[in-house]
């Protein structure tokens, strides 16, 4: 065991993993708080009214851009530093590069916060609110990212076919710089109007589908078999799932702007591609569920595994919902309403958020040479608060969306739809309190695990 972990320690840079995961968690808490503040504004009880630099509109942009670049990129990069060397058997390109990239990423997020809150330099690209002069630097960072993780993947490819996680991550490494360049530069400098709208919608969805999703699934395909100590159920379904995603997902983007002045052929192709992706997603879910068969009792005591399967189920719900609500008919009612916000939070928090939290909780004790997390109570409590909180938010906002959509069709005065939505917005704040409390419990557990001298939960030790 000792020599094995020594080898692994040479393979994996523990420092980089710890740094990125810790910053990712800190940003997660910060952006969740930003979201909660925004929710308070909609409830009419915003605590910083009249202060320009804490204006709710700007806070909201910190929430979205911060969730993308501060939270997800940090968490994912940390988890990639753990997983990629392990399933390829090769080190990342360079440790020094890794530390440079770490500090550059935190600087980019800090600059974005300052630029948006204090300097009024936000960009009007959804999920690309980073100031436009920062975007080329982010693209450059992503090229470094490609080299850093591409090196072990490329070397492993020389020896033989890559494990499924490798396909997802390889594709992601190429896609991400292209997508970020496309979405931030083209609508500003080369396109206007409907063309720019088409680019922007492709960007929003490609960031989810070509960065977040492949990293997340790549990590899932690694962690789930490792935790359950059994292989994935089907290689064929893995292939189908990956190539289905790779072909159909990039074309989804225009579904963000249906019924807009974008030419209809692009809109129809987006709807078709979105429904097609749902089939690819279903094949992936079948694979994971069949892998679980026979080992389901592990979900009872293994919290990281539970996070992963909860997220997987929420993922399927979101994509299934999407296959229906992407149709032009459904869009008449739900576009611009809170239904979409509920959908977005179920996937971003309920799936990707829970996944990274589960994976981080799995690796965190190992990073600090502890056998288990510090406290089972905190571990379980965090899971249930987070899970119930996001589910409550989802049901709440989905209902709110229907109320708003039909109210608008009914030509009630606008203020009526605002007043009808207020109970839903109050409830959403309550769900937000649950989610933030869960995150704080989770963070406390992390802190204690990292700093405890011995501190092992006897209950957890008995179960691992």
């Amino acid at each position: 065991m000792a020599s094995n972990s020594q080898e692994l320690q040479n393979l994996v840079n523990y420092g980089l993993v710890k740094a990125h995961v810790a910053m990712g968690l800190i940003f997660f808490i910060i952006v969740a708080t930003m979201g909660f503040l925004y929710s308070l504004q909609l409830d009419g009880i915003y605590p910083f009214t009249g202060i320009e630099f804490l204006s709710p509109g700007r806070i909201r942009m910190i929430h979205t851009a911060g969730a993308a670049y501060g939270f997800l990129v940090n968490m994912f990069t940390g988890l990639l530093y753990w997983a990629v060397p392990r399933f390829t058997g090769y080190r990342i390109l360079s440790d020094k590069l890794g530390w440079f990239m770490f500090f550059a990423l935190q600087a980019a997020v800090l600059i974005t916060v300052i630029g948006v809150l204090f300097l009024g330099m936000a960009d009007n690209v959804e999920w690309g609110e980073t100031p436009w002069w920062l975007d080329p630097i982010i693209v450059f960072w992503l090229l470094l990212h490609l080299m850093q993780f591409g090196a072990p993947l490329f070397k492993a490819s020389q020896r033989g076919p890559l494990y499924v996680s490798g396909w997802y991550i390889s594709a992601m490494l190429i896609w991400t710089p292209l997508v970020v360049f496309m979405g931030n530069m083209i609508p500003r400098f080369w396109a206007v109007g409907s063309g720019a709208g088409a680019v922007q919608s492709t960007f929003i969805h490609d960031l989810v589908g070509l960065y977040v999703t492949p990293v997340a699934w790549g990590l899932m395909y690694y962690f789930v078999p490792v935790i359950m100590k059994k292989p994935m159920w089907s290689h064929g379904l893995s292939l189908l799932g990956f190539w289905g995603l790779a072909f159909f997902y990039p074309m989804n983007g225009v579904h963000h702007f249906l019924w807009s002045p974008i030419p209809m052929f692009a809109q129809y192709s987006a709807v078709f591609a979105t429904v097609a992706v749902e089939f690819a997603v279903t094949s992936v879910l079948i694979n994971f569920m069949m892998t679980l068969r026979g080992s389901a009792e592990q979900l009872k005591y293994n919290v990281p595994l539970r996070y992963m399967y909860t997220g997987a189920i929420f993922y399927w719900i979101t994509c299934f919902q999407c296959a229906f609500h992407v149709t032009l008919t459904f869009q008449k009612v739900i576009h611009f309403t809170d239904w979409v916000t509920g959908h977005a939070h179920l996937i971003m928090f309920g799936t990707f958020g829970l996944w990274v939290l589960g994976m981080a909780e799995y690796i965190w004790p190992k990073l600090f040479r502890k056998e288990t997390m510090y406290s089972k109570g905190l571990s379980e409590g965090a899971y249930w608060l987070l899970m119930i909180g996001v589910l409550a938010m989802f049901f709440d906002l989905t209902a709110a969306g229907l109320v708003q959509g039909f109210d608008w069709i009914g030509l009630n005065p606008w203020i009526d739809s605002v007043n009808f939505s207020k109970p839903f917005w109050y409830f959403r704040s309550v769900a937000g309190i649950m989610m933030i409390t869960g995150l704080l419990m989770y963070a406390l557990n992390f802190w204690k695990t990292a700093t405890a001298k011995t501190g092992l939960s006897a209950e957890l030790r008995a179960e691992t």
């Binding site: 942009m61 076919p161 390889s170 109007g193 088409a198 922007q200 070509l210 692009a266």
Partner: protein
């Protein structure tokens, strides 16, 4: 199968080929289809507003008349990020230059405040939106591509959520007084609204009244410009009839009558 599972194959086929194909269908081909629509600069938009005597122009003149101190300060105001430069005193009156400057400043702060996160700027041909936004019979057309082909929609401001109403036909809906009061504190005009107040776009003038500052002036100009290209321009009802121009006035009057029919 083995070859498909290697880095180079995945990177080339999935990473590049599939991505380019999807981009082609999603936006490159649409851009090509729409390529003949001219792109207008802010100066073009200002010139258009003046030549058509749109409500954006008349509202801008009203703002200049109601808030002369702020208008003077607007000419002096400089802001690198939106390209706003000083305008010399002899040109500091409502004209194409000052209107363009106000639009630039207003657009910049509309984006900076994230107004586009709560207010959309796209009317869809469904869900009775044409009846709700704008004024039926005056400005109720569905959003069309050429109205977004300008510098102020690069990137587009179509929006993602409607917590507040759509603004792309706003010019037809509210007058200057309403806009000023609403921006300062939305509850003054819309009780129950959950839009935040924006007092930092206002200042006190020399008499102690609350007036828009330079940024506020620009923001109000921009908001009242939205949709003004769709609104039928107001006919100036104050006509100066002299012997020298009575024939012209009668000719104009007949033309107006014919148009109104």
């Amino acid at each position: 199968m083995g070859k498909m599972e290697r880095f180079s194959f995945v990177a080339l086929v999935a990473g590049i080929l599939f991505f380019l194909f999807a981009d082609f269908i999603s936006w490159a081909l649409p851009m090509f289809v729409l390529k003949d629509i001219p792109k207008k600069s802010v100066e073009d938009l200002a010139a258009e507003a003046i030549s058509r005597n749109s409500t954006a122009w008349s509202d801008f003149k009203k703002l200049a008349r109601y808030y002369p101190e702020t208008f003077k300060k607007l000419c002096q105001y400089e802001e690198a990020f939106s390209g706003a430069k000083k305008i010399p005193e002899n040109e500091c009156k409502p004209n194409g230059k000052t209107l363009a400057k106000a639009l630039r400043i207003g657009h910049r702060w509309y984006v900076a405040e994230g107004c586009w996160n709560c207010h959309s700027q796209m009317i869809r041909p469904v869900s009775n939106e044409t009846l709700r936004f704008g004024i039926p019979g005056v400005s109720n057309t569905v959003s069309y591509p050429s109205e977004y082909n300008n510098e102020l929609q690069a990137p587009v401001l179509w929006g993602t959520k409607r917590i507040g109403p759509d603004l792309i036909r706003e010019a037809a809906v509210h007058n200057v007084g309403w806009q000023v009061a609403h921006l300062y504190n939305p509850i003054y005009t819309s009780p129950g609204s959950n839009m935040p107040p924006y007092p930092w776009y206002f200042t006190k003038d020399s008499k102690g009244n609350i007036v828009p500052n330079e940024r506020g002036f620009g923001l109000l100009t921009y908001i009242m410009w939205l949709g003004s290209w769709e609104v039928k321009p107001p006919k100036d009802f104050r006509i100066n009839i002299k012997a020298s121009n009575s024939a012209k006035v009668e000719e104009n009057g007949n033309k107006n009558l014919a148009e109104a029919k």
